[in-house]
């Protein structure tokens, strides 16, 4: 069952993403106010959802599990690392798609808006996490420090989420689902957006699985090289 799910993950992800693009570009109507610019909103919020909540949530949970003695394992450290790497890609995509939408809407590519700025800061945090990993060669030291840093970084996520409420700057507040739980989007527009959310979430898990596999094989190769080097040394000594 697990194997079938894993095998289907890739094709289902591609199918949902293709469906999102098809519905977003051809099926849905232009918006009354924004015109065709609204089509960008079928990908921007789902990408931001993955960047801020799914990938950072995965990295934080995996880091917490690594620091907890009962669940400490290399796998948790690898998951946190891979999720953080993917989050960098999604944060960049969030900022780029937001910027493309912002230019015709707000008149500028970049505004010093609370949400934009806090998201950019989160991107720097993610890059700093990767820099921290590269600075330590000892796997245990690297894993522990990275886990602590990931937890510290996660403090920024609720700040980004509530930034539109606390500071009321340019970026709009919750527009799909209101604070009272009411849906503000209708018909094909809503379905396109929902499919986008599921598709991009699955894309994250697909990328995470592939990146994790790569990391496991890389670790195995390093271990083999170390073993070979030790064997060569021993044979030289003998």
């Amino acid at each position: 069952m697990m194997k079938v799910t894993q095998r289907l993950l890739g094709p289902v992800t591609l199918l949902l993403l293709a469906l999102t693009f098809w519905m977003g570009l051809w099926v849905t109507p232009p918006d009354k106010v924004q015109g065709n610019l609204v089509r960008l909103l079928y990908v921007h919020p789902p990408i931001a959802w993955v960047a801020l909540y799914v990938s950072f949530g995965t990295a934080t949970i995996a880091s917490c599990l690594y620091l907890w003695r009962r669940t400490r394992s290399d796998a948790m450290d690898r998951i946190a690392h891979c999720a953080m790497e993917i989050s960098v890609v999604f944060i960049v995509l969030t900022l780029v798609t937001g910027s493309i939408w912002g230019r015709p809407t707000w008149g500028v590519w970049w505004a010093w808006d609370a949400r934009l700025t806090s998201t950019a800061i989160l991107g720097v945090f993610a890059l700093a996490y990767l820099a921290l990993r590269r600075a330590n060669d000892d796997p245990t030291v690297r894993a522990r420090r990275s886990a602590v840093f990931a937890i510290l970084t996660a403090i920024n996520v609720p700040i980004i989420h509530f930034s539109v409420v606390w500071w009321k700057t340019l970026h709009q507040g919750a527009s799909v689902l209101t604070s009272t739980g009411q849906l503000n989007v209708h018909g094909s527009m809503l379905w396109t957006m929902l499919i986008g959310f599921v598709g991009f979430t699955l894309l994250f898990f697909w990328l995470l699985r592939e990146r994790y596999r790569l990391e496991v094989s890389r670790d195995a190769r390093v271990r083999t090289r170390v073993d070979e080097a030790l064997a060569t040394r021993r044979s030289e000594g003998a």
């Binding site: 620091l67 806090s118 800061i121 989160l122 720097v124 945090f125 890059l127 700093a128 820099a131 921290l132 590269r134 600075a135 330590n136 060669d137 000892d138 245990t140 030291v141 522990r144 420090r145 886990a147 602590v148 840093f149 937890i151 510290l152 403090i155 920024n156 700040i159």
Partner: protein, 219 residues
């Protein structure tokens, strides 16, 4: 925990008092940086500009980075960390002690830089005194966050260059909050809203430090 914190803080401050790195290296650097900031604005702007609080916090950021590195390097002598580890001190106490010592050092440098700001950038003295409590709390928050991030960078490759990369995103909201409350004290505005941000951050960093500093010490 409190006793260990007190011992560590006194130890760090004694080393600082004897080595006088803060007095002869960090403070002159801070004053020079403030002077350069004034020169960058130009003689006409420096005296009338509202950039005083921002420049004060920018220079404070540089000083804080230097002091964090200094604070962490106190245990860098060969065998010192291992010796400290064998004492079995409570890591939460060690964190609080190092943060407390760094807070005192930042308060000293902050007071000197505020004097420089009043003198060189003509920041209003009454407004500066009104902002003083919020500045002291912001510096304490920077110290607690800096102690935590400083411990993350020790022992790896290039801790001096890695530290700004790790701390700047974390310091950004603190510096913005500090600058806004300083500006509010000078020119009027919502002082308390930014105070709350800084105090919440101080409590959060102290809590995380108490909980997780042991993990960093182990590594």
């Amino acid at each position: 925990m409190i006793r260990v914190a007190w011992l560590v803080a006194v130890k760090d401050l004694r080393i600082e008092a004897r080595s006088r790195v803060l007095l002869w290296q960090v403070l002159p650097f801070g004053v020079i940086a403030l002077l350069l900031a004034g020169l960058a604005l130009g003689p006409a702007q420096a005296g009338t500009s509202s950039a005083g609080p921002g420049l004060f916090y920018l220079v404070t950021l540089f000083v804080t980075l230097l002091m964090i590195n200094r604070s962490q390097s106190l245990e860098n002598a060969p065998g010192t960390r291992a010796s400290v580890a064998t004492l079995g001190l409570d890591p939460a106490g060690v964190f609080l002690g190092k943060a407390l010592a760094l807070t005192v050092e930042l308060w000293v440098s902050g007071l000197v830089l505020l004097g420089g700001s009043v003198l060189l950038l003509h920041t209003a003295l009454t407004g500066t005194l009104e902002a003083l409590p919020s500045i002291l709390v912001t510096l304490a928050t920077l110290a607690s966050a800096g102690t935590l991030y400083g411990a993350l960078t020790q022992g790896g490759d290039g801790p001096a260059t890695l530290l700004p990369v790790l701390t700047l995103p974390a310091f950004a909201p603190l510096l913005i909050a500090g600058e806004r409350s300083f500006s509010a004290a000078l020119h009027g505005g919502a002082l308390w809203e930014w105070w709350v941000v800084v105090v919440v951050a101080l409590v959060a960093y102290c809590a995380v430090g108490i909980l997780l500093y042991g993990v960093l010490e182990e590594s």
